[in-house]
């Protein structure tokens, strides 16, 4: 369950940067090839957020598609898994997108 550690990292990063804020929304990016399950993060977020500045905050997760770059034909194509084949048939593919885990932004209440 690395999702728990991932979620705790998210909360720790936000708490460090915005220690006195009440966070209303957290915008996360979890790439489809990142190896992290968004549903598990949602589950952990509620539990791990208790008593922190993100307690009660909404979690907004975007899941960018994987992108493969083919060394054989030069095409970039959507990659559903890290072993994706290029439509041209080549397996000489580098993953160039959809593997990131980012805290994009947070929305903070002005009432505190």
């Amino acid at each position: 369950m690395h999702e728990l550690a991932v979620t705790e990292s998210v909360i720790a990063a936000i708490s460090t940067q915005l220690p006195d804020s009440r966070v209303v929304v957290v915008h996360l990016e979890i790439g489809r090839l990142s190896g992290v399950m968004p549903d598990a993060v949602r589950f952990c977020f509620e539990l791990a957020g208790e008593g922190t500045c993100v307690e009660g905050a909404r979690l907004d997760i975007t899941e960018p598609e994987g992108v493969g770059d083919c060394a054989a034909c030069g095409a970039s194509f959507p990659a559903r898994d890290p072993l994706a084949l290029c439509p041209c048939g080549s397996a000489d593919v580098t993953i160039s997108g959809g593997a990131d885990l980012l805290i994009k932004a947070v929305e903070v209440a002005d009432d505190v």
Partner: protein, 268 residues
């Protein structure tokens, strides 16, 4: 939050130091925290919804771990220490491999081990008995080691300059793949009883590997395992991956493993 002292450093894991036979007296138990959060600059500060404002962070989720891993790597490099992150499923034979490696090599070079387990000191005791100074990190519910735990363990170990440190990660092929520890190389171990399609099932782990050990080859006559298919699957994820068949219990193939170790530990 730390169960031992109640501090909320967040990175606490229980540490126990075990000395190798002949290492002289000394036993320390405790835990180490890394308390200084790594500040990351806030990149933007714009106004959004009516009921509040948006703070743009654009920060990697694992930025803190990655930053600590960079520090570990620098700390190790300054001392010429090669740290190897050893990962596998539970039961693949990591501890047996390391036990044998320590027994064979430690008379000629100092080896220490950071032993990660959720609970117990069993594996750490085996490695200490084989001759390695060992620090046990009990992660409790944690399913992987992170860079902060390794930082604490390195401080407790104090490995000599130019030595080799094995980090035996928690048995798990999923979570450890995500956490850079500051290691010089990643060793992935699997046994021939696990199925030759294992690399395809755990792509992140195999993709980041520097060497793959296929253990328990003494069992090959009894299992349906296609060595070439496994090698091909692993290399689809990691072209050029070194794949070394070994039997840690019988000693087969360990020469090639020791040669690889010499190579990777000699590199600056």
């Amino acid at each position: 939050m730390c169960e031992t002292c109640g501090c909320d450093g967040g990175d606490a894991a229980r540490l126990t130091t075990l000395t190798a036979p002949g290492d002289g007296p000394g036993h320390a138990a405790g835990h180490v925290h890394v308390h200084d959060p790594v500040p990351v600059p806030v990149h933007g500060h714009g106004h959004g919804h009516d009921d509040g404002h948006v703070v743009t962070l654009g920060q990697k989720v694992l930025a803190r771990n990655d930053d600590l891993a960079v520090r570990n790597r620098a700390w190790l490099a300054e001392r010429g220490i090669a740290a190897l992150n050893v990962m596998s499923s539970p039961g693949s034979g990591k501890t047996t491999l390391l036990e044998r490696t320590v027994a064979d090599l430690s008379p000629d070079r100092p080896i220490s081990v950071i032993e990660g387990d959720q609970e117990t000191l069993l594996d750490a005791r085996r490695l200490a008995a084989a001759g390695a100074r060992t620090v046990q990190v009990n992660t409790g519910a944690g399913c992987h080691l992170d860079a902060a735990m390794v930082a604490g363990a390195l401080a407790a170990l104090g490995p000599p300059d130019g030595s080799t440190v094995f980090v035996e990660n928690v048995g798990n092929l999923v979570c450890p793949a995500l956490f850079d520890l500051g290691e010089r190389a990643r060793v992935v171990l699997m046994s021939v009883t696990e199925g030759d399609d294992k690399p395809l099932k755990y792509p992140h782990m195999f993709r980041g590997a520097d060497v793959l050990l296929l253990n328990k080859t003494d069992l090959l006559p009894h299992v349906d395992f296609d060595m070439d298919a496994c090698r091909a699957a692993a290399r689809r994820l990691c072209p050029g991956l070194r794949v070394l068949p070994v039997s840690a219990t019988r000693g087969d193939g360990l020469g090639a493993w020791y040669d690889w170790l010499d190579e990777v530990t000699a590199a600056p």
